[in-house]
């Protein structure tokens, strides 16, 4: 099954409520994906800086100690913030490659959930309402966010197997469905230098989009190309630093409903997730068409 919620805010006045609204939308999707959940939040950022969101091998792992070791080695004054089992380290963008190499060499158990100027990803095994509460998602503000509740089919129930997946700077993707050609495509992408960490099919889709965009395609073009290259069932919701996109496969059996008002564009697996949004009664509500790319971007 799996459940997806996404919120792209157009009216700045609503930005402080991004986390609260996204957590509420996600709450109604618990039954669609009770085994793990994740949240991608596009919050504040600073030009030239990069946020690394780190997670350890278990929820009890001392992620702050690991983050401090990292900053001591790379940038001693870099700020660190903690959210439950994850830590966010803000580095100069130029230091990211060195930090990644240092982590791989010295703390290989630590996973980088996301890297970007504005993106932070928080994900964990557990009932989605509990995951949202542990990370205090409801307190977060931002311009757009995507969440996922997972009912695993293709790979193990682990933190790293939860969505969203991020394979590129400020990029993330969530997926409802299953891909059939992920094994061969994973080999191809790794050969092309895309970092893919898990055996999860969705991470391959994220990696595919990253490669296409690295090769100069826009997100819209990359999504369109995926219709030819990905085999399987999917409803994707993707985020970039400024944008928010939706794509369903040509058969479109995985559910999707969208709503738009002057204040926001919202995506959900079921209409009932949208009922908590302001002005939903007068919103334009529709189902995205199969094999059609939808994309919104902040100027």
């Amino acid at each position: 099954m799996c459940g997806i919620a996404g919120l792209f805010i157009k009216d700045k006045a609503l930005e402080p409520q991004l986390g609260a609204l996204l957590a509420k939308m996600t709450s109604t999707l618990c039954s669609r994906g009770p085994d793990s959940a994740g949240f991608a939040i596009y919050g504040a950022g600073e030009k030239g800086k990069s946020k690394l969101t780190l997670s350890g091998p278990s929820e009890s792992y001392d992620i702050m100690a690991a983050a401090r070791k990292l900053t001591a080695a790379i940038a001693p004054d870099a700020p660190i913030t903690q959210r439950y089992s994850h830590a966010v380290v803000t580095l100069d963008a130029d230091d990211v490659a060195r930090a990644e190499a240092w982590l791989a060499a010295n703390l290989p158990d630590v996973s980088i959930m996301s890297e970007g100027e504005r993106l932070e990803i928080y994900k964990e095994v557990g009932y989605p309402d509990d995951v949202a509460k542990e990370f205090a998602i409801a307190e977060m503000s931002g311009t757009h966010g995507i969440s996922h509740t997972r009912m695993a089919t293709e790979s193990a129930v682990t933190t790293n197997g939860a969505h969203p997946f991020s394979t590129g700077r400020d990029q993330c993707l969530v997926h409802n469905g299953s891909l059939s050609n992920h094994a061969s495509l994973r080999r191809e992408l790794r050969r092309d230098g895309i970092k893919i960490k898990t055996e999860n099919d969705t991470e391959v889709a994220a990696g595919y989009l990253t490669r296409q965009m690295n090769n100069g395609q826009t997100l819209g073009e990359a999504l369109k190309a995926s219709l030819d290259d990905l085999d399987g069932f999917f409803t994707f919701v993707v985020g970039t630093e400024t944008g928010f996109g939706v794509l369903r496969d040509p058969i479109a059996c995985k559910p999707a409903v969208m709503a738009e008002t002057d204040q926001y564009v919202a995506f959900a697996s079921e209409y009932k997730s949208l009922t908590c949004l302001p002005g939903i009664k007068s919103a334009r509500v529709w189902e995205p068409k199969p094999a059609t790319v939808y994309f919104w971007e902040h100027n």
Binding site: A252, V285, E287
Partner: protein, 229 residues
């Protein structure tokens, strides 16, 4: 005139109450408030009552309906009126995919659009959609009528048996073994009846509709193939 508030009453209690109703019940008008997109509202009702639902509903609303008239003052999720036997379901907004799927009888009227697979495997239901329908609609439709005021998506009527399809707008493509057929007087009469039942009598010109049906090449026994058996 009972009113059930789904913000206060559980869905299970609502449906259990509706299932208790006898054919001669005096409680013939029900109102359901705060449906909030909940799934399986008023599924399996078997009594000649009217149910007004004040808002949007989730999956399978009015599924297996017999006799009841269910009016949804909003949009409906997947499988509205799934396997309906008789009665009426009237959706004032849009319907999600598989509206009226496998329906055996009764009427499903959708004021807005219906998405993919509308009337999939329909077996006698009449469906009138006043907007557009999505792809693979009336797939393997066996019996009943599907009327569409707007456009139809890809692969309309794929693997069709004997359901009748009338579409006023453009059709993106026809599915396997579905063809356009001549609109004869008997079909105009049938369409006028259906429009009347959908409250559109004399408002819509039947000559604007085109008729689609089965070419009967896919499912019919063909004498030329007798040697193969």
């Amino acid at each position: 005139m009972p009113t059930i508030d789904l913000a206060k009453t559980s869905l299970r209690d609502l449906n259990a109450t509706l299932h208790q109703l006898k054919p001669d019940t005096n409680e013939t008008l029900w109102t359901i408030t705060n449906p909030a997109g909940e799934h399986s509202i008023a599924v399996g009702v078997d009594a000649p009552i009217t149910i007004n639902i004040d808002g949007n509903v989730g999956y399978y609303c009015g599924g297996m309906n017999s006799q009841a008239s269910i009016i949804i003052e909003g949009s409906a999720g997947q499988g509205v009126g799934e396997n309906m036997m008789s009665g009426l379901i009237h959706v004032k907004g849009d319907a999600s995919q598989s509206a009226g799927a496998t329906g055996r009888g009764g009427r499903l009227i959708i004021e807005g659009n219906a998405s993919a697979r509308c009337g999939i495997s329909m077996k006698g239901i009449d469906i009138v959609v006043k907007g557009d329908i999505g792809h693979l609609s009336a797939f393997m439709g066996q019996n009943g009528r599907l009327v569409v005021f707007g456009e139809a998506g890809e692969a309309l009527g794929d693997s069709l048996y004997e359901a009748h399809i009338y579409v006023r707008g453009p059709v993106a493509s026809l599915g396997a073994d579905c063809i356009e057929k001549e609109m004869r007087d008997e079909h105009r009469v049938e369409l006028i009846e259906l429009l009347k039942l959908a409250g559109e009598a004399n408002k819509v010109d039947v000559s604007e509709f085109r008729r689609y049906g089965s070419a009967r090449q896919l499912y019919n026994f063909n004498i030329d193939n007798a040697d193969a058996y």
